[in-house]
């Protein structure tokens, strides 16, 4: 019952890196901040934008480049200060600082102004119909507090002293930070000045437990009530244990393979041209991939095979795109032969082994499937810290990557993965794919206000992508939360577990 105080002991693999809401745009950190700080807008579990600190928002009449936000009234910060438009202005500007890790999402912002105490206008360089999507992780800080503790900029690594905001927080969120021992334990309790109705959970004890086995054990031994990042292989056992239940839900992240489609010659291939430039080869790879097998065995059913490089919630997704062809080894062989590789070729496959669910196992499985069509993939699997630079610096021929879409819109995918690699866009376009026509379209949707038109263009882009087989999508990840069965926590596609929506009976 909501009445009595309920403590919830919560464990997941990582701890928030910092309490400063703008200096690390990273899963666990954001999750923690969502309890202490609040954003103007947020999403429900189906990914639909809903009000939070802002009650409504719209494009300013007559000026398509400006967004207007109406703020909720009577909001107080934990330290009692009032939440006003000034704080929003301050926070957005803080986000724009070059030591902020969120500035990428606000690159288009030209200026923020407080019209009155509870109205804010954000001026953008151009029309940006979906700008609010970028605000779901932009937390609001108290200007006064920040200035008092001189944390008006996010932590700068270059200088040597720790900023006050790293261990202290003052937000408008439903919970206030009681104590924090980084990497060990963080305690939060209900902030009774909160505007929303009182959550069931009134106290949170958050303990990071890195090791899967230990985390699971902690739940089984009753030392924690709720566990995130449940390894797929333990789901069955956990849901089988009485007193414990597991809830699942699709995650906003697609796992896919990609390959160098630009270079003359590959770095690691046995042949001295670039097979991936040949459409037949790319098709052959697609036919080699047996998504169901991976789903059945590697993912133990905990994944959603897909043919397109985006999860269903994302704007632009269609049944049609999601379809994928059934594996066909013989056809693949033929195609390779046709492409001029009758007895295949060999190439290195780069793979992370500490980032996505069973990432290394997926690669191994694919290596086997490729081998059967005659392509020898030498698996090079290593830590993400070594893997990601390969993609960002285009030093890999063939790689696995997972991509989440926080704004829930295709443009996000296009910008980072499809657009020609430049220093603003195409940062994760490791395939070197470059298509002038697409680039213009990608730019176009950024500023297209008419959603009908916009979606039409998006569809065109996707068709091109699928035709060129830029991505070899494998599946959408599925998240699983395990918990005592007297509590129920819905799975959030962003993996942002929300204790304030948690029900306890």
């Amino acid at each position: 019952p909501a009445a009595m105080a309920e403590t919830l002991r919560w464990a997941r693999s990582g701890d928030a890196l910092t309490m400063d809401p703008h200096s690390q745009n990273e899963g666990p950190t954001n999750t923690m901040h969502h309890h202490i700080y609040e954003t103007l807008v947020t999403r429900d579990n189906d990914g639909v934008l809903i009000p939070r600190l802002a009650t409504e928002w719209s494009i300013k009449e007559g000026d398509p480049t400006t967004w207007v936000f109406e703020l909720r009234q009577g909001i107080k910060f934990h330290d009692g200060a009032d939440f006003t438009a000034e704080d929003v202005v301050f926070s957005i500007n803080r986000v724009l600082e070059d030591t902020s890790d969120f500035k990428g999402l606000h690159a288009a912002v030209e200026g923020v102004t407080a019209v009155d105490d509870d109205t804010v206008e954000i001026k953008l360089s151009g029309p940006s119909p979906l700008y609010p999507n970028n605000l779901t992780n932009t937390f609001m800080m108290d200007k006064g507090w920040a200035e008092a503790n001189n944390v008006t900029k996010p932590q700068d690594f270059a200088n040597n002293e720790e900023s006050f905001a790293v261990r202290n927080a003052n937000g408008t969120g439903p919970y206030r930070l009681d104590s924090r021992d980084p990497g060990v334990k963080t305690e939060m309790s209900y902030f009774d000045g909160h505007w929303d109705d009182k959550p069931d959970v009134t106290k949170i004890i958050y303990t990071p437990i890195k090791e899967n086995a230990t985390r699971v054990a902690a739940l089984l031994s009753g030392e924690v009530d709720f566990v995130q990042d449940v390894p797929v292989q333990d789901i069955e056992r956990l849901s089988g244990t009485d007193g414990i239940k597991v809830t699942r839900g699709p995650e906003n992240r697609t796992i896919f393979f990609a390959y160098d489609m630009a270079s003359e010659k590959l770095r690691s291939a046995s042949v001295d041209d670039n097979p991936f430039t040949k459409p037949e080869v790319r098709e052959a790879l697609a036919l080699a991939l047996d998504r169901e097998a991976i789903q059945k065995v590697v993912m133990r059913g905990e994944s959603i095979p897909t043919g397109v490089q985006m999860p269903p919630f994302v704007n632009g997704w269609t049944e049609e795109l999601d379809k994928y062809e059934a594996p066909n080894t013989d056809r693949a062989k033929e195609l390779l032969a046709a492409a001029g590789y009758p007895d295949g070729f060999s190439v290195d496959l780069n793979c992370p082994n500490d980032r996505y669910i069973n990432d290394e196992a997926i690669c191994q499985a694919f290596v086997g499937m490729l081998a059967r069509v005659g392509v020898t993939a030498n698996l090079v699997s290593q830590s993400k810290t070594l893997h990601f630079p390969l993609i960002q610096n285009r030093e890999t021929d063939f790689y696995l990557l997972g991509w989440g879409v926080p704004p829930f819109d295709s443009s996000y995918i296009f910008n980072f993965l499809v657009h020609t690699k430049g220093d603003a866009l195409g940062g994760w376009n490791g395939s070197g794919y470059s298509n002038a026509d697409l680039d213009t379209k990608i730019k176009a949707i950024e500023i297209e206000v008419d959603l009908e038109k916009r979606n039409a263009i998006i569809a065109e882009i996707w068709d091109q992508i699928q035709e060129d087989r830029i991505f070899l999508a494998v599946h959408n990840q599925v998240l699983a939360y395990a918990m005592k069965d007297n509590i129920s926590i819905a799975v959030d596609p962003e993996n942002q577990a929300e204790m304030y929506f948690t029900k306890v009976e």
Binding site: N212, A213, V216, A217, P231, Q233, D234, E236, R237, R267, S268, D290, A293, I294, K296, V297, V298, N353, E360, A361, C363, Q364, A365, V367, G368, M369, L370, A371, R372, A377, N378, L379, V380, S381, Q382, S383, L386
Partner: protein, 321 residues
């Protein structure tokens, strides 16, 4: 010599050395071996495992290292049971990629045994040599070696491996990368282990070298090198054997860790250690066989090697025969 009963005087004047083999057969070590069941059993185990590893390609029912032969759907088949999708049956079951555990153990032992043993030998030779020199010669050489050791100690094998790997990658052409991996592993593990041998041997040498028999050898004019080798070494070997035999299993496990960090053999060629590492993921999920059988193999090996070590130490010590 001073025996009294005739039949005992007979062997007094020992027979002239016969063929090499017979002489070896007659040697005390061989003799004490023949009379130590433990040693014989242990040797047998080691021999069987090494042979199995060597002959893996011929005796293994499957080829776990050849991805083309793997069927993912065979994954997670329990021992001696039909797979739910393919209906195939495997003696010891399969791992997450559908590799037959039994074959995987055979193939995996090849890597593990080779890397493990070579790494230990490498570390031991390096450490013992430096330790002897440091302890016996002393002076600034001692200081130098020991400070180098301190530097060495400050780096965990992970970092050493990354360094060795990175450097090796510098001058080894991509074509040879695959074969390079193994050597990188051996060097890295060896490098991170030699210090304990060096320091132990040095300590013992400091004690031994002040003893009269070493002085006597110096007087005879035996060159320092040989004194270390023939006089000091045998008398300080005890602890070395202990460390080495215990270290083997550790080296095999380290190999798996390093491979996981991407500086070793690729996951498509799981070593014994890697199999165990994979199995660890399935401790609670019911696939006990993935970790059980490889662990048993590793245990058997470790036990046998240690028992051999114990025996050898005693056999090499005349007073304990």
């Amino acid at each position: 010599m001073t025996d009294i009963t005739p039949e005992q005087t007979q062997p007094a004047k020992p027979a002239r050395p016969r063929g090499r083999l017979t002489r070896w057969w007659d040697s005390d070590v061989a003799w004490s071996f023949r009379h130590s069941p433990v040693a014989i059993v242990a040797t047998f185990v080691v021999a069987v495992m090494s042979l199995a590893a060597l002959l893996a390609p011929w005796i293994a029912p499957y080829h776990p290292f050849d991805p083309a032969t793997l069927n993912l759907l065979d994954g997670f088949t329990p021992p001696m049971q039909e797979n739910q999708f393919t209906g195939n049956v495997f003696w010891l079951g399969t791992d997450d990629q559908g590799r037959d555990i039994f074959s995987a153990i055979l193939y995996g032992s090849r890597i593990s045994l080779f890397v493990g043993i070579s790494a230990v030998l490498f570390a031991m030779t390096l450490g013992v040599t430096l330790g002897l020199i440091a302890g016996y010669v002393g002076g600034w050489i001692d200081t130098l070696i020991m400070r180098v050791a301190d530097v060495q100690l400050s780096f965990p094998s992970i970092l050493i491996a990354l360094l060795v790997f990175g450097i090796a990658r510098g001058f080894i052409p991509p074509a040879y990368r695959a074969d390079m991996a193994i050597w990188v592993l051996i060097v890295s593990i060896g490098l991170s282990d030699w210090v304990q041998y060096a320091r132990t041997v040095r300590g013992a040498t400091l004690v031994e070298r002040s003893k009269d028999y070493v002085q006597a050898a110096r007087l005879i004019g035996v060159p320092s090198g040989l004194i270390m080798l023939r006089h000091v070494l045998p008398n300080v070997l005890g602890p070395v054997l202990v460390i080495a035999t215990i270290g083997l299993a550790l080296a095999i496990i380290t190999e798996a860790t390093l491979s996981f960090l991407g500086v070793g053999v690729p996951p498509t060629q799981p070593s014994l250690g890697t199999l165990i590492r994979i199995g660890q993921g399935f401790l609670f999920s019911g696939e006990w066989w993935i970790i059980l059988f490889p662990s048993i193999a590793l245990l058997a090996l470790a036990l046998a090697v240690n028992l051999l070590g114990d025996w050898m130490r005693d056999a090499l010590n005349p007073k304990l025969r």
